[in-house]
């Protein structure tokens, strides 16, 4: 007797890169199930706070629920503390929210990114149950294994595996980082069937948040 499977993988890839005074977050917009495409225009990026953005890939049902839960908790924080949540604070909140469902997890592979309280770029990368780490860059999702080695090589960030822990932001300029992210997504699209259609790029810097879209292969 086949058991009901509560999870489903809707595919897609998310990437974030932290710079000295900016942060680039990018995700493809394809939503799929099995071998079929459900939508070519589904955003995986959610704005949680002023300078804080969450990009998630995995089961979109759980992701929508997670985004709702975080938005509600952020509002409660604002009411209690009379200020908006900072990115590192949201990072801890996300970790706790995920671990709360340790024995029936959110099937969500998250990358939280934005600017920290000093205005420097920050990227936090998570597993499905809330283990997180601040890094200089991260990729999550079906195409992550295709992208990470290229980012390790081209971003010239100090490796997150080195000890003592070093400040991990990339020395690249904002336009170079965006150019690299576009090319790396185009490459991942060539070889991963779940990544494609359109790429949504969000750049957060001191002057605010700006959004850009470029076309990817649709096959």
């Amino acid at each position: 007797m086949a058991r009901f499977d509560p999870y489903e993988n809707n595919g897609g890839t998310c990437v974030a890169v932290a710079g000295a005074d900016y942060c680039v977050v990018a995700a493809d917009t394809r939503l799929s199930v099995g071998y079929s495409i459900l939508s070519r225009d589904h955003s995986k990026i959610a704005q949680l706070a002023d300078k804080c953005v969450l990009a998630s890939s995995g089961f979109q049902g759980d992701i929508k629920a997670l985004q709702k839960a975080l938005a509600a908790k952020e509002l409660v924080y604002e009411h209690n503390n009379n200020k908006k949540m900072s990115c590192p604070a949201m990072a801890q909140l996300l970790s706790n929210t995920l671990y709360y469902k340790r024995f029936f997890p959110y099937y969500a592979f998250n990358v939280l990114a934005g600017l920290d309280t000093q205005g420097k770029g920050c990227v936090f990368t998570y597993d499905a149950v809330g283990s997180y780490e601040r890094t200089g860059y991260s990729a999550q999702g079906t195409g992550s294994a295709l992208m990470m080695p290229v980012l390790d090589n081209q971003l010239k960030s100090p490796s997150p595996l080195l000890l003592p822990a070093r400040d991990a932001v990339t020395p690249l300029s904002e336009s170079d980082a965006v150019d690299l992210v576009k090319d790396v997504f185009a490459s991942a699209t060539e070889r991963d069937i779940y990544t494609g259609d359109r790429l949504e790029i969000v750049v957060i810097n001191s002057s605010g948040t700006c959004r850009e879209c470029i076309e990817l292969r649709k096959d």
Binding site: S36, T142, T189, E190, Y194, I214, D219
Partner: protein, 273 residues
């Protein structure tokens, strides 16, 4: 004559290691995957012959292994076969039947017939009880006219005016069912086949890249490799990339000299020719 003589293999698969493999899998060993072709393949009969079409993506699970593989296989100068399923199986079975047809042509002195290829394929696939995972669209024109058949992995066949196979077959069939009619012209046939393959390429994740077409008529076959290329790369960094040593940080280095473990004999005997 005494002395042991090895009996010739009776043919078919040797299932001796299946029990061992099942035990290993239960103990956690990950078995190597098969290269499947995902695929959209189609064929239709038009007024002068048949048109075959295929996409060009080969997948290994979620990864694209080959972006431009050839799925329309040669069987005879007047017969071609599209293959879906396990890539090794479709290659092997079409190569094998193609050889058999050539020998048959030499023996009979006549052009091969599509039903000959069909019978050879179906008998082989039935004998292997579905273990040879090849789903084929076979088409050609011979002295009895144009023919189009589908062949399933267990050995059943259908004779049809238009056919689609593979993971993208539903997308392609929706195009055929809307627009197919008897007596299409060559241009209409090629356009309909290309549209059906493109439906598979864009709506099925197992199919992608380019459209291959093959037009077979009495006395002439045209293999239009990469007839359409609707998926160019969307973005390439104008700066280019360099991957020099040192760009990926080396965390630690350990060098073990092997010289002391291997004995190198100076001036040994020269190898025999």
């Amino acid at each position: 004559m005494t002395g042991s003589m090895d009996l010739p293999a009776k043919g078919g698969f040797n299932f001796d290691l299946c029990r061992r493999n099942n035990m290993l899998e239960k103990n956690g060993l990950k078995l190597p995957g098969f290269l499947k072709t995902g695929t959209t393949i189609v064929g239709l009969v038009f007024q002068d012959g048949v048109v075959l079409g295929a996409d060009t993506r080969a997948t290994e699970g979620p990864i694209v292994a080959d972006k431009n593989c050839e799925k329309i296989h040669f069987m005879a100068p007047n017969i071609y076969c599209c293959g879906a399923g396990t890539a090794a199986d479709t290659e092997a079975v079409t190569d094998m039947v193609s050889s058999q047809l050539q020998l048959h042509r030499y023996a009979t002195g006549r052009e091969s017939r599509v039903i000959t290829a069909l019978t050879l394929l179906k008998s082989h696939l039935f004998r292997y009880q579905g273990h040879v995972s090849a789903a084929l669209v076979l088409g050609g024109v011979d002295c009895t006219g144009p023919h189009l058949h589908t062949v399933y992995p267990h050995g059943s066949t259908d004779t049809l005016p238009f056919a689609t196979m593979g993971s993208g077959s539903l997308a392609a069939m929706s195009v055929f069912e809307s627009r197919f009619k008897e007596g299409l012209t060559r241009e209409e046939g090629i356009e309909l086949v290309s549209d059906a393959i493109r439906a598979g390429i864009f709506n099925d994740l197992g199919s992608g890249s380019n459209v291959d077409v093959c037009v077979i008529t009495k006395g002439k076959t045209e293999y239009l490799r990469n007839h359409q290329l609707p998926n160019p790369r969307t973005y390439a960094s104008s700066k280019g990339f360099s991957f020099t040593k040192g760009q990926t940080e080396v965390l630690s280095t350990k060098i073990i000299p092997l010289k002391q473990k291997v004995e190198v004999a100076e001036g040994g005997d020269a190898m025999e020719e």
